[in-house]
Symmetry: D2
Subunit: 271 residues, 4 copies
C-alpha cells in the first residue's frame, strides 16, 4: 500500500490500525501477502506494519549478492521514514535473524522483541541446508520438495493434507517464477555468514523467544542459545508445531505476539 526509497531501491510496506507500533519481519519465502489472515487481529489495538525486505514480495530485487545486515538497515529506514521512535519487532526465521541484528545495532529503537523459529547463526548444518535449497532451485518441483518438508511438521502434513495439496499447486506456480527463485537464492546466500551469538547480550528489550518442538530447520537448541545470551528473555515452546508456526498455530502466534507486546508491565516484584 506504500513504498519508500532505500538507497535507490523501492521498499514496499503495509500499514494498518493504530497504537503501539508492531513491525513484522518475514521469513525467507514470505511477504506482506502472507499475513492476510492476521491483519485484523494484529491491528486491532496496534499500528501494524508489514514489510517486504529486499528481494521479498513487492520490494525491489537486488542485482547481486549482499549481506543480510543490509536488511536491518531497511528496518531502520522504515522506522525513520514513518518517524517511529520505538517499535515492537516480531521476526520469523530469516526475519528473526534481521530482528536480532537490528536489536543489537539499535537497542533504543526496540520496544519489545518477539522471535519465532529463528537462530543466532548460520552454522555448518544450516549452511548445508541452504546449499541444498539453492541447488534445488533449478526446477520448481525440486525446490518444493527441498524446502517444504523442512518447514511443515509431519503432524501438520497429516492433519492438513488437503491444504498441503492445494499449497503444492500454488507453490509450483510461485517456484516456476525465475525472478522469485533468483531472489530466494540471494536471500539464502545473504544469511550464509550470519552469526550474532556474541552480540546478543547487547539486546536490552524484553524478548520473547518461541521454539517449536517439531521445528527441524531452526531446532530448539538454537533458541536455547539465544535465551542464554539475551538477558531479559523469556522462552516458550509450542509442542504442536513445526518451523512454520504462524501457519501451524496461527492462534498461538497471534496470542503470544499481542500478549507479549501489549502487556504494560514487564517487571514483577514477587513478594
Amino acid at each position: 500500500m506504500a513504498t519508500f526509497d532505500f538507497n535507490g531501491k523501492r521498499i514496499y510496506f503495509e500499514e494498518y490500525g493504530q497504537g503501539r507500533p508492531l513491525v513484522i519481519l518475514n521469513g525467507i519465502m514470505m511477504s506482506c501477502a502472507s499475513w492476510k489472515e492476521f491483519i485484523d487481529p494484529l491491528s486491532e489495538c496496534n499500528r501494524l506494519l508489514l514489510l517486504d525486505l529486499l528481494d521479498q514480495g513487492k520490494s525491489a530485487r537486488m542485482d547481486g549478492p549482499y549481506e543480510q545486515a543490509v536488511q536491518a538497515e531497511v528496518v531502520l529506514a522504515l522506522l525513520d521514514h514513518l518517524k517511529i521512535g520505538r517499535a515492537c519487532l516480531v521476526g520469523i526465521s530469516y526475519g528473526g535473524e534481521v530482528a536480532q541484528r537490528f536489536a543489537i545495532d539499535h537497542p533504543d529503537r526496540v520496544d519489545r522483541l518477539v522471535l519465532f523459529n529463528t537462530t543466532p547463526r548460520t552454522g555448518p548444518w544450516l549452511g548445508d541446508i541452504g546449499e541444498g535449497w539453492n541447488l534445488a532451485a533449478r526446477d520448481p518441483e525440486s525446490y518444493y520438495y527441498a524446502t517444504i518438508p523442512v518447514i511443515y511438521s509431519p503432524q501438520f502434513y497429516l492433519s492438513k493434507n488437503d491444504w498441503m495439496t492445494r499449497r503444492h499447486e500454488a507453490l509450483h506456480a510461485v517456484f516456476s517464477n525465475q525472478d522469485f527463485i533468483r531472489a530466494m537464492i540471494r536471500l539464502t546466500d545473504s544469511a550464509r555468514n550470519y552469526d550474532v551469538t556474541e552480540d546478543l547480550h547487547k539486546i536490552a528489550a524484553p524478548t520473547l523467544v518461541v521454539s517449536c518442538r517439531e521445528d527441524y530447520l531452526t531446532p530448539m537448541a538454537e533458541q536455547e542459545l539465544i535465551c542464554s545470551k539475551i538477558p531479559n528473555s523469556k522462552h516458550v515452546i509450542l509442542p504442536g508445531s513445526g518451523h512454520a508456526s504462524m501457519y501451524e498455530q496461527p492462534l498461538l502466534f497471534t496470542a503470544l505476539t499481542l500478549g507479549f507486546c501489549n502487556t504494560s508491565k514487564t517487571e514483577y516484584q514477587i513478594t
Copy 2:
C-alpha cells in the same frame, strides 16, 4: 472489596478495570491477595475479577468436608451476581480444576478458558501427595517442607534464594494459623474424587493449556491428556518454570493470559 452470599456463605471478590471479563481462579494456597503484582496489567483492558473460593482468603470457611464441584457453583454465583453472561476463566492448579468443571457444566458462560499447571483428575499419585500434605499439616515447618519444594522448581530455588528465605518466614506464620491449615486440609480433601477426564470433550471455548517443564505436582502428561480431550485447545510449554508459574514466570503468565483472552480472532483460514 466486595462480597455476596452463596447458600448462606460469604464469598469475597475484587473487581478492577473495564472490558471483557476475566475471572481468576486461585490455586489451593492462594487468595485474592496473591495477585497484587498482577492487578495493573490484567485490568488495563479487562474487567478483572479476583475470587476467593470457599475456604480461601476472605471467603467463608466450611464446616466439614465437601466436593470440589461446589466451587464451580461459586463461580456461577459470582457471574450471576454481577450479571455477567460470559467470561474468560483463568484457572491455576486447583483453580484450573474448578475452571474445567465450570466449563463442562456451563459451556455457554465461558468465553475463553486458560488453564495453568492443572490436571483433569486426582489420580492415585496426586492423591498420595495430598495425603502427605494433610499429614504434614500438624506443624508449620512440616507443612512448609511438604508443599513448597513440590511447588517451586529447583532452578527458582537457586535463582531466588533470598526471596525463598523470606517466603519461608512469611509462610511459617501463615501455616501456624490453624484456621488456615484446616481450610487447606478441606480444600485438599475436596479434590480427592475429582475426575473430569471423560467430560472434557464438552468444553467448547477456545482453551489455552499451559504446561511447565519443571512442574512436579501436575506434570506435563496431565496437560497432554487435557489437550487430547478438549477439541479447541492449544498447548504451550514454559521450559523455565515449576508448578507456580505465575510467580516463576510472571511476565509470561500475564502475556499468555492477556494474549489468549483478548485476541479477537480464534479461527484462521490458512490459505
Copy 3:
C-alpha cells in the same frame, strides 16, 4: 564374505563370532562396509550377521520397482540358509522398517527386536522427503545436500566438522556412481507404501525402541507410535544424536544393542 541365492538374486552377507545370532539390517545408504568399527564389539559374545539387502552394498541390484516387503523375505532366506531358528534383529531406519515387517510376519523367528531411528509408516511428510531425495539424485552434490543434513544433527556437524568435510568428499564419489544412485532411488521408492502401524501388535519379542532427540527424518513421535502398539516394548531416548545414531553415538549404539539382546532375563517380578 559369503553369498546365497534369493530368487535368482545374489545376496551378500558377512558373519563373525559365535553365540546368540544378531542380524543387523542396514539403513538405506548403508551396507556391510558401514560396520567396520562395530564388528569387534558386536561379535565378541555373539554370532554377528551383517547383511546387504537387495540394492545395497554387494547384493544384487534390482531391475525395476518393488515393494519393501521383499526385503523381509531376504532376511528369512538368510536365516533359513544358515539354519538359524531365532535371531535378534537390529534394524536402523529403513532396516528397522524391514525388521518390523519381519517380526510381524515371522514372530517365531525373532528373539529380540532392536529398532533405531525408524518409523512404522511412510506418511505424506516422509514421502515428500523421499521425493526430494529422488529429484536430487540427478547430480552428486544435490544428493549430498538433500540427504546429509537430514541424517546428521547440527551438533554433530559442529563437533565433527573435519570428519564431515572428509565425508563430503568420499560421498561425492559414491553419489557419482549411477549404479549406486539408481539403487538408492529404488530403495526409497520401495518404502513409499510402507505402513505396518496396524500390525505392530503382532510383534511378540521383547523390543527396544531407540529415539534420538535431534532425529529430523524419523522424529520421536514415530517411535512413540511404535511403542504404543508393540506390547512388550521399551523406549530409550538419546538426547545427543541425530538420525545416524550409530555414527553419532557409537558406544551407546553398541551398549544398547548388546545389553538388550544379551540380557538373559526380560521379565521381572517387582516385589
Copy 4:
C-alpha cells in the same frame, strides 16, 4: 553373605558370579535385599557385588552424624578387602553420589561408571525435600507419603496400583522400625553438604548417565549438569520412568548396565 570391618564397623556385602567386577551402590532406602530380581542377570557374565553402605541393610548403624564422603571410603575398603583393582561402579541416586565421589577420588579404581537418577549436588531445593523427609520421619504413614510419591512416577502408580498397595503395607512395617528410620535420617543428613560439581572433570572412566523423564527428585537438569562436566560421558533418557528406574524399568536397568559395562570397545573411529 559376607562382611568385613571398616574402622570398627561391620560392612555387609554379597557376591555372585564371575567376570568383570560390578559394584552396585544403593539408593538411600535400598539394601542388598532390593536386588533379588536382578542377581541372576547381573551375575551371568560378571562378578556382581552388592553392598550395604553404612546405615543401610545389614551393615552397621552409625552413632551420630557424618559426611557422605565416608561411604566412598567404604567402597574403597570393599575393593581392597577383595583385592579388586578396578571395578565397574553402578550408582543409584544416593549411591550415584557416592559413586561420583569415589570416581573423583580414585579414578584408577574405576573401570566404567554408570549413574542412574542422581545429582552432583544437594542444592537448596533438594535440601528442603530432605528436610521434609526427616520431619515426616516421626510416624510411618507420614514418611510413606513424604517419600514414595517423589520416588515413583504417576504412570507407575496407575499401571501398578496393586503392587503399590502391597508395597504401602510392607513399607508401613519398615518405616515403623525406629532403627531403620534413624538410619534414614542420618543418611539424608549425610548428603546435605554434598557438592562435587567442580570435581567431576576428574572422572576419567567412560560414564553412562541415565535420566528419567518423570524423575521429580533428581530431575533431568541435574544429569545434564553431570554430562557437561564429565569428559567421557554418554547420556540416555528413559521416558517411561520416575526416580526408581530399577523398579519401573527393570529390563532397561539391566540392559543399560550390562551393555555399557561389558562392551569391550569404548572408542570408535568413525570413518
